[in-house]
């Protein structure tokens, strides 16, 4: 409802070298939007919430998380 639908396309934008390291799951509700006016949509990367998530910000968050684990 708050723009999360586009986030499902993040898989299409993952760089080839990280594609196999990331699994994308759709979630009906993370329960994070309520009482957080104008901060939706939310997503989580390895359990860490990303507010005002977009395909770009998720790619950044995934890149940062992978960088930490390397």
């Amino acid at each position: 409802m708050m723009g999360g639908s586009d986030l499902l396309l993040v898989e299409d934008h993952l760089p080839a070298d990280v594609k196999g390291l990331v699994s994308v799951e759709a979630s009906p509700c993370l329960g994070l939007c309520r009482g957080q006016g104008l901060e939706a949509p939310f997503a989580t990367v390895d359990g860490v919430a990303v507010r005002r998530a977009s395909v770009g910000s998720l790619l950044d968050a995934i890149g940062a998380r992978l960088g930490e684990t390397k």
């Binding site: 409802m1 723009g3 639908s5 586009d6 396309l9 009906p28 509700c29 957080q36 006016g37 901060e39």
Partner: protein, 500 residues
């Protein structure tokens, strides 16, 4: 523009707030607080110049969300609570066929710089000067180390921009004006956009295109919630494009809609099945009688476009009522006295419904989503229920461009000369194609016209990314019975089987 943007999110936050207050019966009590609640807290960042401007624009957006066209509204300090009381007291049928379905939020309109060709600082005043060479009007000259354009003679053809090897020439656009296929939106004396109601076809292209969210639809959400709250039976007639907006089975969506207070849920696609059968018969009759082609009639924005801008097409439009009309008539006959609500992603259906007595209200997919959020309903968690009538694969497929042709083809008479042609989305270019059709230039004899690119899935009030929605619709259609098994004459069934 992506569906994922701040303007869309703001509109939906306000719809959720409106829906929550309406369902709680506290609309008048709480509506004036909403702009303050959304502009407070550490995380808030102004969308416009400051919180005061944001709140002013939010007040206008909330007025539209409660069903008021903003062109009629004078900001004289009247609290939104007064509008809320009027909205709650509004009676069904109080809208006239000429009432606006789109409105402009003046406070949010940026008054974008007038469309023109602009030479940027990247110009190198090169020796080749292809801009000068290409310009058919001699409007571009290089002097003082930079190209300049004579605005009096420039016809904005853009050839100079294409020719520039430095990409130093750009076309400044006004997104809403650029998107409108019929030139129905333009600047008023104050530089802000105005809708020409006589020219507007309610397609919603301007609503989708405006990066400031300054064009919005006039909602009837409050009226619908009020009908539910007052204990009336309220039937939902669900467009297949809406079934594709939620990642859940149709039965779960129906259950969620019931939880939002609707007493019965019906598929508009059942009306699409009927429309396909009627159009197949009408097509055979008209082509048999020597007519050159027939167009579809299910997209109200196209029907309006033909009526207002391409009169030569009017007599070629199918006389078959739209799936919404057929489904609503059937619900009205089965459930007299029930309030009927068509739920779809379309703005133009609001206008069609104003002249359709079987439809009391139109609710957008966004408004349905807002109701779910307000009530805490998770569609994916809802227990599936059976719908009274199941639509066919092709009926559900009406939601995607090419779906109507596929449905009619599946049940057309054996040996029919069926040559479909698709106009997928109204734009300035496709308007030229429609005019060519009216002049007799054509490449088919069954012309399907969808105002929104991709069909209803690409509607201005859809929630899901059209690519994701198309996959969901495909899943739904694949689990459905073929239309040919229900409606077709025996010879058409044989032909369809042979084709499969």
């Amino acid at each position: 523009m992506s569906k994922e943007n701040g303007a869309v999110r703001l509109k939906r936050e306000l719809l959720v707030a409106t829906a929550r207050l309406a369902y709680e019966g506290r609309l008048a009590e709480g509506i004036d607080r909403v702009p303050y609640e959304l502009t407070s807290g550490d995380a808030y960042k102004p969308s416009l110049c400051c919180a005061h401007h944001d709140r002013q624009a939010m007040r206008s957006r909330l007025a539209a969300a409660m069903g008021f066209a903003l062109e009629d509204r004078v900001d004289d300090g009247t609290p939104l609570a007064d509008l809320a009381r009027r909205a709650v007291a509004r009676k069904p049928g109080s809208d006239g066929p000429g009432d606006p379905v789109l409105t402009i939020v003046g406070e949010a309109c940026n008054g974008c710089v007038k469309s023109r060709i602009l030479v940027t600082e990247a110009c190198q005043a090169c020796v080749a000067r292809p801009c000068e060479t290409m310009c058919p009007k001699g409007s571009i000259k290089v002097s003082g180390g930079k190209a300049s354009i004579d605005g009096e003679t420039c016809v904005e053809c853009g050839l100079c921009a294409i020719a520039c090897p430095f990409k130093a020439i750009i076309k400044l656009q006004v997104p809403c004006e650029e998107a409108c296929p019929v030139g129905a939106i333009g600047k008023g004396p104050d530089g802000k956009e105005r809708l020409d109601r006589d020219a507007c076809v309610s397609c919603g292209a301007c609503l989708k295109a405006c990066p400031f969210g300054a064009v919005t639809d006039v909602s009837r959400l409050v009226d619908i919630v009020e009908a539910i709250r007052s204990g009336k039976r309220v039937a939902a007639i669900l467009a297949p494009a809406v079934a594709a907006q939620f990642r859940a089975p149709l039965g779960a969506l129906a259950s969620a809609i019931r939880a939002a207070g609707f007493s019965s849920i019906h598929e508009a696609a059942v009306g699409a099945d009927e429309a396909a059968a009627m159009e197949a018969e009408e097509f055979a009759e008209r082509i048999g009688a020597g007519e050159p082609f027939m167009t579809t009639s299910c997209c109200p924005a196209f029907v309006e476009t033909a009526s207002r801008h391409v009169p030569g097409l009017i007599e070629r439009i199918s006389r078959t009522p739209s799936p919404m009309s057929l489904a609503a008539a059937s619900v009205r006959a089965a459930e007299p006295g029930t309030v009927t609500v068509f739920i779809g992603p379309c703005v133009a259906k609001r206008r069609e419904a104003l002249a359709e007595p079987a439809v009391d209200y139109v609710m957008s997919a966004e408004e349905l989503g807002a109701a779910f959020v307000a009530l805490g309903i998770e569609v994916a968690d809802a227990e599936e229920i059976e719908l009274p009538d199941q639509a066919s694969r092709e009926g559900r497929g009406f939601a995607a461009a090419g779906g109507v042709s596929a449905a009619v083809r599946s049940i057309a008479s054996a040996g029919a000369d069926f040559r479909p042609m698709l106009i997928d989305g109204l734009s300035k270019e496709s308007m030229a194609a429609l005019r060519a059709l009216a002049r007799g230039e054509r490449a088919g004899n069954f012309v399907e016209v969808m105002a929104c690119k991709g069909g209803c899935l690409g509607g201005p009030c859809a929630i899901a990314n059209p690519k994701v929605a198309a996959l969901q619709l495909k899943r739904l259609a694949e689990s459905s019975e073929p239309l040919v098994d229900r409606h077709a004459a025996p010879e058409a069934r044989l032909e369809a089987l042979a084709r499969d």
